[in-house]
């Protein structure tokens, strides 16, 4: 029994010592491209952008790419995760130099993405914010434009942290507006007003032109003269059409000072 406990303690100590070392030793690294999605120049460019944002705000903005998160963490950290959210939580809480962080993890095997935020990072990146950024970069990820996706992530992270520092982070009650949002917010009411206005105008115009030929002679039908001699209703055929339901493209989980949002690209 003592032998088992000793081995367990040694394994725990080794893991604890080994894990932070991977990232802690690379304090100035903000992108870990183990899946080799970027060229050298792209890597440098993204690295510089993430570094600038992170150092300016004191919240680390990290990108981590792997070929398969399950294999990677099993082989390198002796950890087994069933979801990319769990893997991201592990990294955010245990493996990063700064506990105030936001992480974008990409796993190529099942084309998963996950944005996780911890401590101050969690305050700045709410579930709404993580989903917003995930949706914003999803198309680039889908198209294989990883460079663009990562630059967009860095830029949006900067904007979200800026807003947090102003006192109110972007959230469901304080949404970040895009041109499309503005179009929806103002376009729908304006469109509804125009449609109702036009209906009223055409209705008035029609009302002022009441002189029309009568299409029918219902006024001259002799009461009770109608006799139905033959009537049937026969079923002919049925046609069934189906449309796929719109699926939730991402899911979010929040617990204490940590939260993550994941989806597929």
């Amino acid at each position: 029994m003592k032998k088992v406990l000793s081995i367990a303690c040694i394994a725990l100590i080794l893991t604890a010592l080994f894990m932070p070392a991977v990232f802690a030793e690379e304090e100035s690294e903000y992108i870990y491209d183990t899946a080799s999605l970027l060229s050298e120049s792209e890597f440098t460019e993204v690295q510089n952008e993430l570094k600038t944002v992170s150092q300016e705000h004191g919240i680390d903005v990290i990108i981590f790419t792997v070929n398969d998160y399950q294999t990677y963490f099993n082989e390198n950290f002796n950890q087994s995760f069933s979801t990319i959210d769990d893997a991201s939580e592990y990294v955010c809480k245990n493996a990063l130099y700064n506990e105030n962080n936001v992480l974008l993890m990409i796993s190529m095997a099942d084309r998963d993405w996950c944005i996780a935020s911890n401590e101050k990072g969690h305050d700045a990146f709410t579930a709404y914010g993580r989903e917003y950024i995930g949706n914003a970069i999803n198309e680039d990820l889908h198209d294989g434009d990883y460079d663009d996706a990562f630059e967009k992530f860095a830029k949006l992270a900067d904007e979200f942290i800026d807003e947090y520092e102003k006192g109110t982070p972007y959230d469901t009650n304080h949404k970040k507006m895009t041109m499309t949002d503005y179009l929806i917010r103002f376009g729908i009411p304006i469109g509804a007003g125009i449609v109702v206005g036009l209906i009223a105008v055409f209705s008035v115009k029609k009302k002022y032109k009441p002189v029309q030929l009568k299409a029918e002679a219902n006024d001259y039908l002799i009461e009770n003269s109608l006799q139905v001699h033959n009537a049937y209703d026969r079923f002919i055929y049925t046609h069934v059409s189906r449309t796929r339901k719109a699926k939730q493209s991402s899911s979010s989980h929040d617990s204490g000072s940590f939260g993550s949002t994941s989806g597929k690209f």
């Binding site: 469901t172 929806i184 917010r185 103002f186 729908i188 009411p189 304006i190 509804a192 007003g193 125009i194 109702v196 206005g197 036009l198 009223a200 105008v201 008035v204 115009k205 002022y208 032109k209 009441p210 002189v211 029309q212 030929l213 009568k214 299409a215 029918e216 002679a217 219902n218 006024d219 001259y220 039908l221 002799i222 003269s225 109608l226 006799q227 139905v228 001699h229 033959n230 009537a231 049937y232 209703d233 026969r234 079923f235 002919i236 055929y237 049925t238 046609h239 069934v240 059409s241 189906r242 449309t243 796929r244 339901k245």
Partner: protein
């Protein structure tokens, strides 16, 4: 040969009119009232009376060209001897000199004699008042139209109508659908079921009116329908006194198609009304309409015609002389329509924005 009838009061000899309020012939001078049917006998007697004949020699003036007189006739007023010029379709009018109402009986006898007439129930003042109310009730008519609109002419006119009766057999095929929707975790489903619906039946129509005068716009005449034929009386020229009257210039044969179209549409509608099942849609696919025992009557219906002028443009109104139903197209003020559009667009826009924001939809 057209002949002028003037109805004289047996009491004082003044020219008498048909009075819409009293529904009797009334003398405007001594207020005596007479049953119009009593004049029927007088009409019959006059029919047999030999016309006056005067032969004068000499010649003055020039001969009329045939083209000049083709559509125009001259009559002599029996009260003042003034000359009345009327076109070929005028059957009743008034003397422009003494104002006496005259009936040009020969104009009606040359063609078919009307079977029925519905007497006027609304008089000229009623027509004027109704026009005023009609225009003033239209909030979107230009303000200037209400102020500057001038009543140019008002005339009580007996319009010739062909009245068609028919027994109609109809067979109509409809395509009907029902729609059922449901969903599972993956899909939304829409099931549309199609039905062949058939209805065959018979029905009868009576007194479907078709305007028999080309001078009256058909749409205007049909817009003041319906007329209540129960109030129609046997025709006698006495009812025409004090009003204008046209004789038909569209034959019964040429009017049948218009009646058929209306019967066909009504038959489809009526049979559709017998479909009890709440289908989502019912669309007529084909129909066969057979008209049996078709009969036609010729009647004169009372109509007030009002012409107004607004900034050089003519507006024509009509009032059903029996029921008082009033119609006529009116101009619409662009400024008022603009204000309505702007007000609604802004108001609805603000409401949608507020509701959308409150519900978190925008």
């Amino acid at each position: 040969m057209a002949e002028i009838f003037e109805y004289k009061c047996p009491c004082c000899g003044g020219a008498i009119n048909f009075d819409a309020d009293a529904q009797k012939m009334k003398c405007p001078y001594c207020d005596s009232e007479f049953d119009p049917q009593a004049f029927k006998a007088q009409d019959e007697r006059l029919k047999d009376q030999a016309p006056d004949e005067f032969n004068w020699g000499g010649s003055a003036g020039q001969e009329w060209d045939e083209n000049e007189t083709a559509n125009m006739n001259v009559f002599v007023c029996k009260s003042c001897a003034g000359e009345i010029v009327a076109d070929e379709n005028t059957a009743a009018t008034e003397c422009p000199y003494c104002g006496n109402p005259v009936v040009l009986s020969g104009r009606l006898s040359g063609m078919l004699k009307p079977d029925y007439v519905i007497p006027f129930r609304h008089d000229k003042e009623s027509a004027k008042e109704t026009l005023k109310k009609y225009v003033n009730s239209k909030k979107f008519a230009p303000g200037a139209f209400k102020a500057e609109n001038k009543l140019e002419e008002i005339k009580g006119l007996y319009v010739p109508f062909w009245l068609f009766d028919s027994d109609t057999d109809a067979a109509v095929n409809y395509t009907a659908t029902t729609i059922h929707t449901w969903s599972d975790s993956e899909y939304n489903y829409t099931e549309t079921s199609y039905f062949d619906v058939f209805r065959e039946g018979s029905m009868s129509f009576e007194n479907i009116p078709v305007d028999g005068s080309t001078q009256m716009p058909d749409d205007l005449m049909e817009s003041i329908e319906p007329f209540n034929f129960n109030e129609a009386v046997d025709f006698t020229t006495a009812y025409l006194a004090g009003y204008l009257a046209d004789k038909y210039d569209v034959s019964m044969e040429d009017s049948i198609e218009r009646a058929n179209n209306r019967v066909k549409r009504s038959a489809e509608d009526v049979l559709r009304g017998t479909i009890d099942f709440p289908y989502a849609t019912v669309t007529p696919k084909s129909s066969s309409i057979q008209v049996q025992n078709g009969k036609a009557k010729y009647a004169l219906y009372p109509v007030w015609i009002l012409n107004t002028d607004y900034r050089g443009e003519k507006y024509l109104f009509a009032m059903n002389g029996q029921t008082g139903k009033f119609v006529g197209n009116l101009p619409v003020s662009g400024a008022k329509l603009g204000a309505l559009f702007g007000g609604l667009a802004v108001g609805v826009g603000v409401i949608v924005y507020l509701i959308g924001t409150l519900l978190g939809l925008l």
